[in-house]
Amino acid sequence: MMQLPCPWCGPRNVTEFRHHGPHSPRPEVEPASVEQWHRYLYLQENPCGPVEERWYHSAGCRRFISITRDTYTNATQPGEHP
């Protein structure tokens, strides 16, 4: 089974995690324009290759972690975000 490198638990099976997709911070409510909301809600990156994403270790440490994954090969390594 594919494993993800959790910085807290070590390599764990991918079925323990929930995928949250590429890092995309939510815009501030007040100054954000319609365009920014549109981008945040709908236009997720969908690259064929390496991408840094958030995963939630729901059946483990229950923390959000950052992982760089090649979406073509599914090879993973720890991400740069905390």
């Binding site: 089974m1 995928h19 549109h38 809600l41 236009l43 979406t71 073509y72 599914n74």
Partner: protein
């Protein structure tokens, strides 16, 4: 070529939706397939002629369709057959029908949840019913009935909702109880002791299965017969856009000048659209499926369980085809996984315990282009001459004929046909989403 994104055909364009007024412009010049011909070929043992051939890439095409699957080929066919546009290239980086068109589980149905969806997929079902004679190619459509099981109150409520929406649109669809289900599928465990007892099902008699390769080959043969160039192993590397309109396509086999490009690339849709500078609210996820060894015919309906994330049908060869939900994360990898077949097998046995001794023959995966509302994205974009027919998610195969028909009309006339008016890319900005997730065969 002219303004408005429409492709000028050699024949005059017929206005309106064209659903009743269309005529074929010319019959395919290929020899027709018939029983008599089959007999004579069998007696003389003569080879069948090739139905499409290799062409050199021309420097200019009126329409370039990217993606040689069902949608691309159907679009090419309807453009050539009904709109008189013959100077068309269909490009595929692999072989025809090698993507989602050859990887789906070949189920056709129209019991959707939204009126827009029901209308659209029902038109597709009607086209499928006449496809064999339309294309002069046996597509082996078997309208054996389609059962979507409900294992809890919420599921049953959605089934009733869908049944009512379907009936209003004239689609044959009703909710039936466990006794009737048992009569249709004796091998299914409908007892109250089952792990997930069956409370009822949405029964859709016109639904069924079809030979998906035959549909692809039928469209390819018919399109090639009308002069469409099918270019396999031709990967698109770039799309030229000047002053907001498409001017050409760059490929691994050379450059093409064109004013109209259609993106029919499903899982790779965002990568192709990015080449034209168009952003798409689409993500790519694999969907895995599996097939067993062939056995005697015992299952003559399509059985779907959303709760158990599985759909089952038996092919004409006797194999059981199992489909499932999309994988739980985005990816372009089409490698199968062991945890998938383990989960699939355990879920199938909860429905049909008698299958416990059957062996799986193979498993595979295809790429699904998922949209936020589970409805497709079709029609023109902000780049003039760049059309999209993407965002099919897990519904692409059933929609092939109507998508081809509607896209052909859209490209030829420059107007978006009513049947796809709600599926435009602009709906994500205006907020008029067409939520079709409730009609998904299984929970995704």
């Amino acid at each position: 070529m002219e303004s408005g994104g429409a492709v000028q055909s050699r024949h005059s364009n017929r206005p309106g939706s064209g659903r009743t007024s269309r005529r074929r412009t010319r019959r395919a010049p290929q020899p027709r397939y018939s029983a008599g011909r089959l007999l004579s070929k069998g007696l003389t043992k003569a080879d069948w002629p090739k139905v499409w051939r290799h062409h050199d890439l021309k420097p200019r095409y009126d329409v370039v369709i990217i993606g040689g699957g069902l949608h691309g080929l159907a679009t090419a066919y309807y453009l050539a057959a009904y709109h008189g546009v013959r100077n068309i290239a269909v490009l595929d980086k692999g072989y025809l029908g090698g993507g989602g068109s050859g990887r789906n589980t070949a189920i056709v149905r129209s019991n959707y949840l939204t009126p827009e969806g029901v209308r659209f997929y029902d038109r597709s079902l009607k086209l499928y019913e006449n496809l064999a004679s339309e294309l002069n190619f046996n597509v082996m459509f078997s309208q054996r009935g389609h059962l979507t099981l409900a294992h809890n109150d919420g599921g049953l409520r959605t089934m009733r909702w869908r049944a009512e929406v379907n009936k209003v649109q004239g689609v044959d669809s009703e909710v039936i109880g466990p006794e009737e289900i048992k009569k249709l599928v004796p091998s299914m465990d409908t007892s109250a002791q089952a792990r997930y007892p069956i409370l009822g099902a949405l029964y859709h008699p016109p639904g069924g299965i079809i030979r998906h390769d035959a549909v692809v080959w039928g469209y390819a043969r018919a399109a090639a017969g009308l002069g469409v160039h099918l270019h396999q192993e031709t990967e698109v590397t770039g799309i030229d856009v000047r002053h907001g309109r498409v001017t050409g396509v760059r490929t691994t086999r050379g450059d093409i000048a064109t004013g109209t490009v259609v993106n029919c690339t499903a899982g790779w849709a965002t990568l192709i659209s990015e080449m034209a500078g168009v952003e798409m609210p689409v993500t790519t996820s694999p969907l895995q499926a599996a097939v067993t060894e062939p056995v005697k015919p015992f299952l003559d309906t399509v059985v779907v369980s959303g709760t158990l994330h599985v759909y089952v049908s038996q092919t004409d060869r006797g194999e059981l085809v199992f489909g499932a939900s999309v994988d739980p994360f985005t990816s372009y990898s089409v490698r199968g996984s062991l945890e998938f077949v383990e989960g699939l097998a355990s879920n199938v046995l909860k429905l049909m315990p008698g299958l416990s001794k059957m062996r799986l023959l193979r498993q595979w995966a295809g790429l699904c282009d998922m949209t936020p509302d589970y409805s497709p994205i079709m029609g023109p974009t902000s780049v003039e001459g760049f059309f999209v027919d993407v965002g099919w998610g897990t519904y692409g195969f059933k929609a092939g004929p109507v998508a081809g028909e509607a896209m052909a009309e859209c490209i030829s006339t420059g107007r978006t046909p009513q049947i796809i008016a709600h599926f435009g890319l602009d709906r994500f900005r205006s907020g008029r989403l067409v939520g079709e997730k409730g009609a998904a065969a299984v929970g995704h």
